[in-house]
Structures are given as structure tokens and as C-alpha cells.
Symmetry: C2
Subunit: 472 residues, 2 copies
């Protein structure tokens, strides 16, 4: 334990080096969603590989072939690494991603998105918090271990992908291939790719909601119609769709599909007691919303609504009029999109049956001549880990050491499919250890990472390695 | 009356000339919606002007300034003409438009849209039926009068615009300016810019529905949200919108807004008797729809649904997810668009009050924290003429003379605002005298005009001038 202060002062000493390292990473616009920037994604893989090699990491690239839906677009490599092979040490698998969301100054950024700008102890730039900051954070802490002359107490296995922001194309396949090879000795997994719940208190994340995405297609005439000529004589698909949409969820967020809420795990007394301790307020939600249109006025029900109850959102309609102005079209075929965020113990197949049967039944009641088809477009399961697992205990000790507080134990409303993928393939505990704050704006303009989160965060990752060696 | 056979043989003789004239007009892509083609619209105005001058017409251009919403785009000229000034003759105002809808081969046209192609007695090309065929038809029949040595029995006042397909920018203003000048001696108005109800029987059109276009704006958060993070904690505007949409109209087309149907003129016995005679079948509707999703299975109710009852169509949503794929967005602000086709005796202001009050009231019931605002974006009134007016009697006699049948007296479900504008400004009877068939595909791919409609149609226009001189 006496070695952590040494590690921490080395990290403080190296702060300019660490900011420079992140700066170089942010300067590479590794946007996975833009095919023309694919060479930049590859450049970022190379940069990461070089930084890892400087630590003594053995690095291998895995090429997962061409991108789905493109004639001739190679996926960026998945960067695998190994640092240390002491059979006496535990093996920790670190996942992160080196690609970023699209960004352009004209979207409203206050500074150049692909230039790391430090202002008032905040680092602005695309990827600063999602997920270059945390990925570089691992490299930082390992450099500090080495320069401080401290033995790294675990063996590290790295898996950094370059397609996370565009569906993680190829990753599940790679995990399946490597689970008994590159990843075979894994004792625990640590992912730093999410955020504190709020802006002040560090967190460990042990659960994620799943998502099942549905489409209702209503089709009638052979082509779009003019409402002057055909209004009042043709059954209109859009009319049917809005009636079906209106049966799904009420304005207060209550899901109306029979059977769904029955699958939700009841709140135990133990869980009920957890919420009061969590550092969060409805005002923080209102700040994030930019409005006072929150559904619930108390903290507990809000947190439950975010991560332990399902929610249903109607996203939009494909095929209808959708731009400005006033077009008098009767759309011939409309595809209504909605999704349900899922939680324990909702079973995906059972949910699909509930949803599709219900829509079929409601469509029959409409007595329309149009054709209605409901289907699930894709689904990813919810994930719930054990916050009492030694992997979490280690992270909690690390947090306490660096931040002098107990972490909040949080769940996320969204999904991080890779957590479940690793857990299923390796059957090992997966920990989500966030570095950034809840207001970092990961996918928005002016994405940022506060300097304390970056530097203390790098310390937290280092302390975690220290404690996990002891706890596992 | 003895002179009409002479006119008709001259028209038959000139058929190749007439097709060539239309061919030259179609070859000019006078698309008013495409600013880069504005010079072509002007070229078409010049072509029309030259053709009119060859007949001895005095032509003047009216320049109505710049197009709304553009920095520096001049509106195409409104072409005014006068042929004949015999004070003993009646003055007939002819309206038409020389601009066309956009068209491109890649939209699915079987032939080049801006090349008139004759195949199996059908003329294909953009503008063939809407509205170059009818406009050129007037020139044709006047040329035939002159070449046959027959005195044209009326004075003609022409008004041809080049912005009809893009909102008739400038036209109402021009009518207001010229009503006591260029148009001042008008005795009756004839517009050939619509279609037969079906494909076999000529028609005179004496009524149009109006349209009132509404928007419901629901806004909540300051920006779009991620449904993972915020689903279940934020009031979602799209949920509110679909509930409001679902209160407007049922799947069988019944308008649910109280007060609307109360304003509709009751069906008189006389009107009730009219429908049986009209040449139309539900099968024709199904052919036009390309499906069997018609609301009613009998002809009378279908025709009533089309032109004597109001209808409500939901057009789409601005601000929601609207493309292919599966985006998990909670839209922050959505604008739902719908319109009501109006009929006698709906009053536009009263309708707005019914609609907006009802939406406000239904929004209150939702008990949502989001903001709901309903408004009328634009409205054009319905129009109903008198089919017993001498102007219609003349057109009926002309139709009988050329086609050997009594015309169907029809109304249109859509709106042709200029009919009402002329009627209001000049206080004279307005006649809609269609040339093309119901399946011409005016705004679609493969727009066409059957050769018999073009040639017999030109004869009908000529015979109308003959009879209207006698009847008025």
C-alpha cells in the first residue's frame, strides 16, 4: 500500500506528458462512421500500438474483414496487447475504443473538435472523454508504474476496438475467436467507457439496461397519394400508425403493453435502501434535460425510471413527410419506430411476443384495410453484475484512495453491449469503472474531460490494478 | 353552328403541327421548383409569347419581383395577352400555367421526361397534361379558327403564369393589380388545368375542396436525448404528439373534432340524385390507389368522400427520426402536420377555432409537462360554382358537340386556388374545363396526355368559345 503515494506523485509529475499524449490522440479524427476517415481510424490504431509498445506491450492487430454494407471498406484493426506474463499474477482484461463520434466546428463547437483545448482545468475535444481519455489513462498509469520503479501487480490483456461508435462491427466475432486464445487466462474485466452519474461523485457501474427496437409497418396504396384527390376515400396508413402508437405508452411513461411490467424484478428492501445514498438530484436531471419536463419529482423514482424500470420511447416515422413546410401527402407506407429499454428479468423473446401480439390485436380493433406488420429490428440484453465481487471491491478501494469518498454504485439506462459479450464469453466478472463526469457530452458538441477526472482518473486506474491483484 | 365542322376538320388537318407545338413546349424544362432552371421557365414564357403573337395577340409580361425566401431569384414573368377588342363581343379570360413539376429519368420514367414521346396514341412527357397541353390547346384552336377563316366569336384575355407548381408566387397580387385594368372587361373565366374524373367520360368541374393545414408543436427538453440515458425519466414530446394525433380521426376516416361536421352543408335530394349518373366506379379508385384499401365500397359514398365531405390526413412529423435504420433518439421538439380538406359551408376561421380549442383541451387531458401548441399554417377556401350558369351551359354544349355525350358534372377533392381568386376579384363565373384524363399522372412519373384528349380537347376549347359567345 505504501507504493501508491509514489505512483500518484509520479502521475502528478507526468501530467504535462499525459495531456500531450491525449492531445496527440484527439488530433487524429478517428471517426468510425465516416468511411472517408477510415485511414484516420487506422492511424489512431497505429498511434495506440506505438504507445503500448513503448511500455513493453506485445501488440497484435486483428483484421475482421470488410464492413457490413460496404463494397470495399476494411474494418479498422482490433488492437490486442499483452503486458506481463507472470504466472503468479492475475490477468486483467482491459477494454476500450479508439474511434470517436463525428464532429465538426459548424455543428456548434466552441473550439476545433479535433484539437485538445485546455481551458479552466477542462480539456475540450472529440474523444476526450469517450473514449480516448480513459484508453490513454491506462497507458499513463502504466508509464507511471514503470517510471516510478513499481512492479505492475497484474498481467494486462488489452482489447481496443475502432468501431464502437458504429455498432462494434466484428467485435463479438473476435471475442468468440479469442476467448480461448488471447483472452484465455482472463481473471476479471475492466471497462472504462462510461460516466459518473452526476458531476461531483465518482461511481462504479454494475448494471445496464438492454434495448429491444421495434418497427410497425403500415402499408396501403401502391404509392404516395395527394390528400386532395384521395383524402376521404382511401384508408390512410398514417392514421392507423398513430392509433397504434397511442396504445403503447401514456404521457406519464407507463407502458401499456400487457405482460411487460409483469416480467420486471420486484424492488427488494435492500435495493430500495440503496437510492437514498446516491449523489444525484432531480435538478441535475433538469440541467441535463435543459428543461423541467422530468417525469418524476423525487430522486429515487427518477433513478429507478432510469435504470431499473423499462421505458418505451417512440423515435419517429420513416416514409411520412418529415421536413419543414406543409406537404399535403398521404404516405403510402409508413414505418413507425419505437424501442423498449429492458431490465431484469425481462426475457427478450417473451417481450417480443408481448409486443407483437399486442400490436396485432390492436391493429385488428382498428378494422383497417391497410396491412400492419410489427417486428423486432434488433435487441440487446440487459446486464447486471455483482457489486460485491472482489473486482468491484478493488475498484471501490481505489476510488476511496484517490477521491477520499465511497463510490456511488450506479447502473446505466443505456447499453454497452461489450460488457455482456465479455461476461458471456469469458464467464468472468466485468467492472465498469468510469473516468468522466455525467455532463461530459460524449456524443454532443463541446465534448470535454475535466483535468481532475483525467489525472485522478489515471490514478484510480492505477490504484485499481494494485487492489485487484490483492482482492481477486 | 355550321362553322364548327369546318373548325374541327381544320384541327384534324393541323394535328401534326399541334403535336409539334406541344413537343417544343415539353422540350423546355420549365421547372419552377428548381432555381437553377429558372432561365428555362423564362424561355418557356418567351416561347408562349411568340406563339401568341403569331396569332396577333398583344402580349405583355408582368414582373412580380423576387421569389420569397431567395436572395436574388427573379420570379418568371406572368404572360398577359389580348386577342381581339371588338366591343360587341364578350371577353373570355383564359388562365393556364407554363411551368411544370420536377422530373428526372432516374425517378423511374420510361422515356426522357422532357421529350414528348408518342406511343400507341399517347403523348408522354412532363407538362403534357399539366398544363402545357391545355395551354397549347388554346393556341391550337385559335390557329385553326384563323386558318379556317372563321371569325373568333369572343375577345380573349390571357393570363399564363410560371409559378403554379410552386405556390403561384405573385399571382394573387397580379390579379388584384389587374382586375380593373388588363382583366377589367372580363365576362367569364375558363381554366383548363384539371382532369376528367375517370378515363372515359368528359367532365366539367364546378367545385373544389379547400384545405386548412395545421401543425401541432410539442416541445420539451432543450435538445434531442438518448433514450438509454433519459428514457423513463423525461416526458417525451413524441408520446404526447401521437396521443393528440390519435384523437383527430379514426381509421375509417371519421373526423373526431367536435363542430367540424356540424358545419358541413346537408345533402339535398337534388344532390343525392346527381351521383348515380356520374361515370365512375370503385374499381377505378382501386386502380388509382394501386390497392383495395378504399374506405367505401359504393360509388356514391366514395364520390361524396372525395368532394363533398371534409377529410383529415396526417402527413408526418418534423423533428423526429425519419430515415431507415434504428436510431434511439428521444426527439426534443416535434412538429406534427395534418390538414383538413374543407367543403361548403365550413368557415375557415371557425374551423381553426374548433381544431385549436380541441387540441388544447386534449393536450390538457394528457397532463404533460411538455409544451403543446397548435396552429394553422395556411388555409385556402373551398369553391363552389353554379353548373347552371351560361358559362357551363356553353361548355356542356361544346362537350356534347365534340364527344357526343353529356359531360359529367364533377367536383375536385383538391384545390385550385386561382379559381377562387379570379371569382372573388372579378365577380364573374369561373369554369373548369378539363382536357386530360384522371390517370394522366400530372405530378408523377410518365405523365401523359392521350392524343384524342389533346385533339378533341382542342376542339372542345374551340367549340366552347363558339357557344359561350352565344350563351353569355
Amino acid at each position: 500500500m505504501s507504493e501508491l503515494p509514489k505512483l500518484f506523485s509520479k502521475i502528478d509529475e507526468l501530467k504535462p506528458v499525459f495531456i500531450d499524449r491525449l492531445s496527440k490522440a484527439v488530433a487524429i479524427p478517428s471517426v468510425s462512421a465516416e468511411p472517408e476517415r477510415r485511414p484516420k481510424v487506422v492511424e489512431m490504431a497505429n498511434y495506440l500500438s506505438e504507445e503500448l509498445k513503448k511500455l513493453g506491450t506485445i501488440v497484435e492487430f486483428r483484421h475482421m474483414g470488410k464492413q457490413d454494407g460496404f463494397e470495399d471498406l476494411q474494418l479498422p484493426p482490433i488492437v490486442l496487447g499483452k503486458l506481463g506474463n507472470d504466472p503468479a499474477k492475475k490477468n486483467i482484461l482491459i477494454y476500450g475504443h479508439y474511434d470517436v463520434q463525428p464532429a465538426a466546428l459548424e455543428d456548434g463547437w466552441a473550439t476545433e473538435p479535433f484539437e485538445l483545448v485546455e481551458k479552466d482545468d477542462v480539456l475540450y475535444g472529440r474523444g476526450s472523454t469517450d473514449d480516448k481519455g480513459p484508453v490513454i489513462g491506462w497507458i499513463n498509469t502504466l508509464q507511471a508504474y514503470q517510471e516510478a520503479g513499481i512492479d505492475i501487480p497484474v498481467n494486462l490483456i488489452f482489447c481496443f476496438e475502432g468501431m464502437e461508435e458504429y455498432g462494434s462491427d466484428g467485435l463479438d466475432e473476435l471475442i468468440e475467436i479469442e476467448k480461448d486464445k488471447w483472452f484465455k487466462d482472463t481473471d476479471a474485466v475492466c471497462i472504462s467507457d462510461n460516466y459518473w452519474l452526476g458531476t461531483t461523485h465518482p461511481a462504479l457501474t454494475y448494471g445496464l439496461r438492454g434495448v429491444s427496437y421495434y418497427q410497425i409497418t403500415v402499408s396501403g396504396p401502391g404509392a404516395d397519394l395527394h390528400s386532395g384527390v384521395f383524402g376521404g376515400t382511401a384508408a390512410e396508413p398514417m392514421t392507423d400508425l398513430v392509433h397504434l402508437f397511442s396504445k403503447l405508452v401514456t404521457s406519464d411513461g407507463t407502458i401499456q403493453i400487457p405482460g411487460v411490467m409483469d416480467m420486471v424484478a420486484p424492488v427488494t428492501e435492500e435495493e430500495d435502501a440503496l437510492y437514498e445514498k446516491i449523489h444525484f438530484s432531480v435538478e441535475e436531471l433538469q440541467n441535463a434535460l435543459g428543461s423541467k419536463t422530468n417525469l418524476f419529482d423525487d430522486k429515487k423514482r427518477t433513478l429507478m425510471g432510469r435504470w431499473r424500470y423499462p421505458s418505451l420511447s417512440i423515435h419517429g416515422v420513416e416514409g411520412a413527410f418529415s421536413t419543414t413546410g406543409a406537404k399535403t401527402v398521404i404516405p403510402a407506407k409508413v414505418k413507425g419506430k419505437f424501442s423498449i429499454r429492458t431490465v431484469p428479468n425481462i426475457e427478450m423473446d417473451q417481450l417480443d411476443r408481448c409486443v407483437i401480439d399486442y400490436i396485432d390485436q390492436e391493429a385488428k380493433k382498428l378494422n383497417t384495410k391497410n396491412t400492419v406488420k410489427a417486428e423486432c429490428l434488433h435487441a440487446g440484453n440487459w446486464w447486471l453484475s455483482s457489486p460485491n465481487h472482489p473486482n468491484y471491491v478493488a475498484a471501490a478501494k481505489a476510488t476511496k484512495e484517490v477521491w477520499n469518498v465511497e463510490p456511488d454504485y450506479t447502473r446505466e439506462g443505456g447499453s454497452i453491449p461489450v460488457a455482456l459479450s465479455f461476461e458471456k464469453a469469458l464467464n468472468k466478472n466485468v467492472l465498469l469503472l468510469p473516468m468522466g463526469r455525467g455532463d461530459d457530452g460524449a456524443h454532443s458538441i463541446n465534448e470535454k474531460l475535466n483535468v481532475p477526472n483525467y489525472i485522478q482518473g489515471s490514478k484510480t486506474l492505477g490504484a485499481y490494478l494494485f487492489y485487484v491483484a490483492a482482492e481477486l
